[in-house]
Structures are given as C-alpha cells and as structure tokens.
C-alpha cells in the first residue's frame, strides 16, 4: 500500500486534473463564439414560408394533459401529416430556459409549434424568436377566434399567436370548511390562518391582491405591484398563508390542509368533479383572464404542417373534442353549440363557457414592464423563499 503515497503519482494526478481544466477552458472558448445569430429587440418578424399542401413530420410541444387522446390521430388521418406531440412545457420560465440557447442560434430544437402564455409569447416575440403566420392557410382561425381575444395588446392583429386555451385565475374553496370566502380580501381573514394557499406565479397572485387593495392591475405602476407584494409578504410572515404552490394546491384542498386557495378555473372543474366539497368562487373583485398561445418559432421545420394543425383545432367540431377533455375556456366560436348536443353538462358550465356577466369584473392578465420585471420578480420571490 505504501506505493499509493508516492509523491510522483500525486503529481501525475494533478497533471491530469490541470490538463482537464485546460481542455475545458478551450472547449468553453469555442462555445462562447456563437452569440451572433438573431438580434434581440428586432420585432419585425419574418412570415413563415408555406408549401402548397401539409405533409411530412411535425413536432408540437404543449403543456401536460392539455389535449385529448383522439385529436392528434384524427389530424394525422385527415392530413397525412405525422405528428410528434410532446408534453414538455411545465412552466413558461422553465421552458424558456430550455429553448433560449437554441432560439438564440435560430433553431427550435425540431419543434414547429409550441404553446406559451401571453406574456411569454410577447417576450419571445420581442426577442425575435417567433415567426408571423401566413393567414392564407388559417381560414378557420380567422373566422372562429372569439371576439374578446382578437386584439390583445401585445399582438393586436394576431400575427404570431393563436390562443390554445384560455382560463381564469380566482379562488377555489372547500365549501364545507370555508363557506364564507367570497373575495380575495377574505383570504386574509385571520379565521383561516395557516389554511390559505396562493400560487407561486407573479402574474396571477399579485394582480388579484391588487384588486383586493382597490388597485386596477391594468397599467399598474411598479409602486402598485410593490404594495400588493408587501401585503402578501406580511400575510406569509404572520403564517396566514400556509405555503405558495403550483397546481399541487389540489392535493392540499382534497386533504383539507388548505381550505381556500388562489387557483385556476380548469383545475377547479376537475377538482369539483372528484370532490363535491370543492368549489370555484368568482372573487367579488373579479378574476384574472389569461390565454396560452400556439406560436411558430424561428427555425421551425415544416411550418406548413404547423399552420394546418392550428387551423384544424379552430374547427368547432375538432375543438369540441379537445374542450370536453381539457375543461379550460375555449377560444373558438361555435364549440358550445356542438357540445350542447353531446355534452350539455360541459356546455352549461360557467367555468368552461363563461358568460360576459360572469367575468364582468375580470382583468386580462397584466405583466410588469421589462425594466420593472426584474425588481418585482426579486421582491415576489423573496416572499416565496421567506
């Protein structure tokens, strides 16, 4: 065993490690050179180049459990396009972290279409990561998109984003344990100390709390955002808020660990179906309305097939099939009529087909200005991480 202490061996080992570091530095230097490519801030996007007829392969990235089992095979059968459908979008920021290095090089990692929330679609567009649609291949989209989603502030002509599903952020309660929670302000009632949960999403939780403070989240200033974050902070520190969650609040509601949470309408439909004691409450202050959008990234192979898919899901018959499974709010006109025949329960559900009066106090999801975003994100996450 004595030979193990031979100093020459240790020198040799060090030499190998040093060599390793040198090689690594060399590799890194090579990697650093590829920054050119797409220029940030260039909002003049190119339009996709279409072929006459959709064919070949197409890869679509979407959020988990956001489509029924039949739509993709039906689309393949109708068009002859072969679809690789992957459910790899779990959070906007996380998906961006994964895609950013590729998109910077003008590549999409083989994806022809993916689905992100409004503010992320806006951000990607600002970075020059998205292509404009060729509307000539999107007759259904042009005809059937619901009117209140036709002119979002970030894409007033709907040139690069097509809503996949919309939804509401509001309150979900255990009606047996928290019967009188009706507003966002009620979530701060000491009676429910340690039994309230809020979403760990800046753009869902903070605007709702602004509403409780009487601030209109649309065009809110950095000060307004900060005021709401401070209110959440004191509630977190006092123990009023049990914890901040993603959609795992469902488990806590079911077990009774939480009795009132800030949550999403589609989840509420599912949770209500499984447990009659769970119920959506439209906050008296109103809800937050958001959409997830299909976008075509730069470098997307086969954009023709991607547009064919967009147009396919904008056919009310096809959309009804997705809607019956997903239970969020459909962006397609005419779906309700289709479902009234086959699935009247779904067609009459206010959470899936909300009437104008139901959402009258609701606000389109706001997003802070780019300059304010970093500070507000930091302040909000400081609350989440105590």
């Amino acid at each position: 065993m004595a030979s193990e202490k031979d100093p020459r061996r240790i020198t040799a080992l060090l030499a190998v490690l040093v060599a390793a570091v040198v090689v690594a530095l060399g590799l890194a230097a090579c990697g650093g050179g590829g920054d050119s490519g797409i220029n940030g801030g260039d909002t003049e996007s190119e339009e996709v180049k279409l072929e006459k007829k959709a064919s070949g392969d197409v890869t679509i990235s979407n959020w988990p459990l956001y489509i029924d089992k039949q739509t993709v095979p039906d689309f393949e059968k109708e068009t002859g396009v072969s679809v690789k459908y992957i459910e790899d979008v779990n959070a906007n920021e996380e998906f961006f972290a994964k895609m950013d290095p590729l998109l910077k090089q003008g590549e999409s990692g083989g994806r022809s279409l993916f689905v992100v929330t409004d503010w992320m679609a806006n951000k990607m567009h600002e970075l020059g990561y998205l292509q404009n649609f060729d509307k000539s291949a999107l007759p259904n989209f042009e005809k059937n998109l619901v009117s209140n989603l036709r002119e979002p502030s970030y894409d007033p002509q709907r040139e690069f984003s097509a809503p996949w599903q919309s939804g509401m952020t509001g309150i979900i309660v255990r009606k047996d344990l928290a019967p009188d929670v009706k507003s966002i302000c009620d979530l701060f009632d000491p009676k429910y100390k340690g039994k309230v949960e809020m979403l760990n999403e800046l753009r869902d939780t903070v605007p709702l709390v602004m509403k409780c403070l009487g601030i209109d989240p649309t065009n809110a200033s950095e000060d307004d955002w900060t005021k709401a974050i401070d209110k959440i902070k004191s509630a977190a520190e006092s123990g009023q808020i049990r914890r901040f969650t993603g959609n795992d609040y469902g488990a806590d509601l079911t077990s009774g660990n939480a009795v009132a949470v800030i949550g999403w309408s589609g989840d509420a439909v599912q949770l209500q179906a499984d447990n009659p004691n769970i119920e959506w409450r439209m906050p008296t202050e109103g809800c937050i309305l958001w959409s997830d959008n299909m976008v075509i990234p730069i470098g997307a192979p086969n954009p023709t097939a991607a547009e064919a898919f967009i147009d396919y899901v904008y056919d009310p018959e096809n959309q009804a099939q997705i809607e019956a499974y997903v239970n969020y709010v459909s962006p397609v006109n005419g779906v309700k009529d289709v479902l009234l025949k086959d699935e009247p329960e779904i067609a009459k559900n206010q959470l899936i087909f909300p009437s104008d009066s139901f959402t009258k106090n609701c606000t389109i999801q706001p997003s802070p200005d780019a300059e304010e975003e970093q500070n507000l994100n930091r302040a909000f996450n400081a609350v989440l991480n105590g």
Binding site: A20, A91, E93, A97, L127, G194, N200, L202, N385, G386
Partner: protein, 282 residues
C-alpha cells in the same frame, strides 16, 4: 514503461467523466456567474457584484439551510448509530434482511418518498393528533413547518448515514473488543474507548454524506415547508426557473459550494483527517 502507463489508462474513463460532466459545466457556471444585464441579453462582464448580492440578499436562507442540514445530520446520526451497531453485532441471521430494509426505500424515487411525508403529516392524520397531544405541533399542524423539513431531510438521508457506519463497525476485529473486556473495561468503557474510535471513519463519512446533500436540498423544503422554511436550494431554483436571473443563480451556486467546502474542511480538521482516511490511521 508499461507499469507507468496502466494507471493512467485506468484513470482515463473516470477522468473523462469528471471532465465532461463536472469540470466543463463548472466552467460554464463560473462564466455565467460573472454575466450582467437583464433577462434575454446577459453578457459576460466580470460582474463580481453577483457574488456580493448572493451573500447579502440570501444570508437568511444560507443560515437556515446549514441549520436544517446540521440538525438532520445530528438526528440521522443518533438514529443510525444504534441501528448500524445492531445490524453489525446483534442481528445474526437477520443482518441481510435488516440491511435490505435500510436500502429498500431507494427502490422508490426520492420525490415520491418525500411526497409520502405530505400524506403522513397531513393535518387530519393520526400522526399529527399524537404530536399535538404531546405538544410537538404548536399550531395544530406538522406540515409546512421547519420541523417537517428537518424530519424529511433526516429520513431521506438516513441510509447514507447507516451504511458507512455499518461498514466500519463490521470491519472491526472483534478480538480488540474482547481484549478491552479482558482488561477489565466495563461495557461502556469498551464502547467509548475501543468501538467508537474504531468506527470513527464511518461516522465521519456518514455525516459528510448526509450534511453535504442536505445543505443543497430543495425538495423537502418545497413540499414540507412553508415560505419561511425555504432553503438555499429553493432560492437557486427560483432564481433560475422563476426569475430567469441566471447570473445570480450561478453566483449563488458557487457561494454555496464554497461555503460547504469551508464547513467540511473545518469539520475534517476538527474530526481528524486520519479518521476520514480509514485504515491507514489504524
């Protein structure tokens, strides 16, 4: 000549692995930690202020992480030593069964094991009513407290404590223990002057294998803790995936690595590096 080449040849695969999956990523991480700018357009600029920020903004979570990891290590040691001792010296033909029982939880993934604790400690569970009755659940709940996080960490890293201690106990030459008794030492004297020192390498290895991963853990705090129980791993995760502040996340990771390294060096100094080196010290 050949004798001198063979060791390098044997070293090759391991060194290549380390190079590709540790040194290279570490370099990129370091470069990233010195970037500045806003989300979407980070640029390399020797921005050392990221390190100042990491230390000044997140000192609370650092202290909390080391506190939780330290407590979990102590509890794991208190649970693991008697267990390992029993398996090594008293278990007889049950030895393999007990060893298997220690390792068995690893057949389920880490995440699922942690989520199971959500159910075990759920507010309505009998465990919590018992804890409440003996005054260990002050607000009538166990979940979403620091105690739950420490319990989760202790549970998840227990096997890392048991196995090294078992391995060092099992290697002890029983004649040394018998010699202690022959020389009129009491049972406790034999234990403290013969068995415990001989098993020190296992204890040191076990505490390191528990403390280091526990300090950087974020799963337990995320599922079992509340906002005021989040650890430094949660901060890094939220900086990277929620705030998209990659430079700050990278700088914080380096600070964490450095902090753990310093703590470990102090500990090894204190515990004696001979103990860590094992047999050579004997």
């Amino acid at each position: 000549m050949r004798r001198r080449v063979v060791p390098y040849f044997l070293l090759g695969p391991g060194a290549a692995w380390l190079l590709l999956f540790f040194v290279v990523p570490l370099y990129y991480l370091f470069e990233l930690s010195l970037n500045s700018g806003v989300f979407g357009s980070y640029e390399f600029s020797w921005h050392w202020a990221n390190y100042n920020d990491a230390l000044s903004l997140y000192d609370t979570q650092f202290v909390r992480s080391f506190k939780y990891a330290g407590l979990a290590t102590v509890f794991a040691l208190l649970l693991a030593y008697p267990l390992a001792y029993t398996i090594a010296f008293k278990a007889g033909r049950w030895r393999n069964v007990l060893l298997f029982a220690v390792v068995a939880p690893f057949f389920t993934t880490y995440l699922i094991r942690t989520l199971a604790w959500e159910t075990i400690l759920s507010d309505q569970s009998p465990v919590v009513s018992v804890l409440d009755a003996v005054g260990l659940a002050p607000e009538g709940r166990a979940l979403a407290t620091g105690g739950a996080v420490v319990a989760g960490l202790t549970y998840n890293f227990l096997p890392f404590m048991v196995l090294p201690i078992y391995a060092s106990l099992e290697r002890i030459d029983v004649r040394l223990i018998e010699a202690g008794k022959d020389l009129y030492a009491s049972a406790s004297q034999t234990f403290f002057r013969v068995t415990l020192p001989l098993s020190a390498p296992g204890v040191v290895a076990g505490t390191l294998l528990t403390f280091i991963p526990a300090s950087g853990d974020y799963v337990n705090a995320q599922f079992l803790g509340s906002a005021s129980n989040q650890m430094i791993g949660n901060v890094i995760q939220s900086l990277y995936l929620k705030q998209s502040d990659y430079p700050a996340a990278a700088a914080l990771s380096f600070v964490l690595m450095a902090a753990i390294l310093i703590l470990v060096l102090i500990y090894i100094r204190f515990a004696g590096s001979e103990a860590l080196m094992g047999e050579e010290a004997v």
